[in-house]
Symmetry: C2
Subunit: 331 residues, 2 copies
């Protein structure tokens, strides 16, 4: 299978799950001390992950949780972020300038910052109150934080049962999804690698990923034009430009917002003959109970997207690591 190291992928995800005791130690201490609210802070791809963490928690929690864009925090500010706010960030390089400045501002305010920073030697790693350094798996790290908070708040009764299943079955299951999705990924890439414009529709815990996949993968890494839209917003304007040949991909989750994407899936054949449905439900993850499936959707759909990416990269002879402008020019 093209660009797929099964053992490395498996090992990486298993390692991420093993961060849980370390995460819980931080979360438990903060919970015990007390906090006013929880802020998921990011920009670009990490902003998208922040949105997903909020949707994930919103299913169950009555805590005050919100996401904030680092650049907006630096200009408009956010008076809800106080010394009693628990802020969570993620950064691969630790060098994204808005995030570095935003954490500095959090330090000044006195908020408590937990940073998942892959590059542990970065200056940012020394600026956060709690550092956890492990490559990739941003979404999983965020969900583990949110889930622990909700367990402590008595909002996630099945927490132990869920993670008992996750620890044993998740990594292997997602690797199998990636393998199962390869044929589809290749066919999809062959059909859409040269689209003039591609529309991605998503909702629920996949909305952030839909936004990010369109922008941070197709636009940034494949240089293909896209627009992403929330499934429910699709009917409030955007769909008027969809015609027979407009390429539209709809992600369908198994969380509480499944019906919002299904509504698009049911409607679109009437007006469009070039649509694709990518449904998390079509991919088996053995060992994870039905009641927990909703939380798996972003991971399943991410695995499917991975397969699309490697085939587009190959067909287009456009290595995903090259950037035209990002970190090439000053801005």
């Amino acid at each position: 299978m093209l660009k797929f190291d099964e053992q490395a992928t498996l090992k990486n995800m298993e390692g991420a799950l093993k961060l849980r005791p370390q995460i819980n130690e931080v979360v438990d201490a903060i919970y015990e001390r007390g906090f006013q609210n929880v802020c998921w802070l990011g920009i670009g791809g990490t902003y998208a992950s922040a949105m997903q963490a909020v949707v994930h928690m919103k299913e169950k929690t009555s805590m005050e949780i919100f996401y904030e864009n680092a650049a907006v925090f630096l200009t408009t500010g956010n008076k809800r972020i106080t010394k009693d706010t628990f802020v969570i960030i993620s950064s691969v390089t630790g060098s994204t300038e808005e995030v570095v400045a935003a954490v500095k501002k959090c330090n000044e305010i006195g908020a408590t910052v937990l940073g998942f920073i892959d590059e542990k030697e970065a200056a940012l790693a020394r600026m956060v109150d709690h550092l956890i350094s492990y490559p990739l798996n941003e979404q999983l790290k965020f969900f583990m934080v949110g889930d622990r908070l909700m367990q402590l708040a008595g909002e996630f009764e099945d927490y132990e049962e869920f993670y008992a299943e996750m620890d044993v079955h998740f990594a292997k299951g997602i690797v199998e999804v990636e393998k199962a999705a390869d044929e589809f990924g290749q066919a999809f890439a062959e059909a859409h690698h040269d689209d003039d414009m591609h529309y991605f529709v998503g909702a629920g815990n996949q909305w952030g990923a839909t936004y990010s996949y369109a922008m941070c993968y197709w636009e940034e890494q494949h240089w293909l034009k896209t627009k992403s839209i929330e499934a429910h917003e699709f009917f409030h304007g955007m769909f008027e430009i969809v015609e027979r040949d407009t390429p539209v991909t709809i992600y369908v989750t198994e969380d509480s917002q499944r019906s919002l994407s299904e509504r698009v899936v049911n409607f679109i054949p009437q007006i469009c003959g070039n649509y694709t449905v990518i449904d998390a439900k079509d991919y088996d993850v053995p060992g994870i109970s039905e009641k927990f499936r909703g939380a798996l959707s972003p991971f399943i759909l991410h695995a499917v997207n991975n397969r699309i990416d490697v085939h587009i990269e190959r067909i287009n002879r456009h290595p995903m690591e090259i950037r035209r402008y990002y970190r090439q020019l000053k801005y």
Copy 2:
């Protein structure tokens, strides 16, 4: 001037400003009784206005305020919306199904709903706790609610001074902006009425409007393809697809996020030769103090967009009231 009834426009805006005592009566009663948080609830265009209300208030307030999408509220729910939440909605027809169902859910929860419903005979008008019925000016109505709340909370010291100026100078000033923008609007429409794809960049209190203008005007009413992006997010992926001839329009506000749009304005000439800057600062509104200019940006830019619209409509021979699918098909 094409499709411009100066007297009617002026009268309509002046009438909207005169809603303030009625708005304040509602807000004062709710404030006095006490509330936990403030939720701006909408979908599509009203969702966009809700985003703007939150950005507008975020400049000053430490109250818990948030926007919520009606469809998300109906599926995932929002446990922060309680019997002590002050919910604000707006609806022209009173018949948007998600909003009707969301208000019903608010009623069940016991939240207090203020509805700006243009069609006062709609069933929705009987479902809200407080009804204010007056055509158009959604943003102004929302800002008047937010401003009063902030004044009561001691967060808007200049409130009386601001509205003393607004009451006398706002409507006339915005009408003059519309007149001043007509020539630009025509030239812009001539240049871009047939764009295959148009990018709109915005930030601050114009972000919601940027999202909405792209989707609810160009896509829904002109059937022209667009993508909207927050100015700060532009640099985190999207800009990689911008080339010499890519049509990009950047809205620049005078609020706290001005610098975010300016950053795009300063950068873009390096990579694109087909960009347009629409800067609120370029339009005078006599009688409004410099320190209040930030709050005017969405109104100024809306007036400019109005002029673009009428010229695109004329050039494309595409009446803005026709819909291909919206309320034509079942979904």
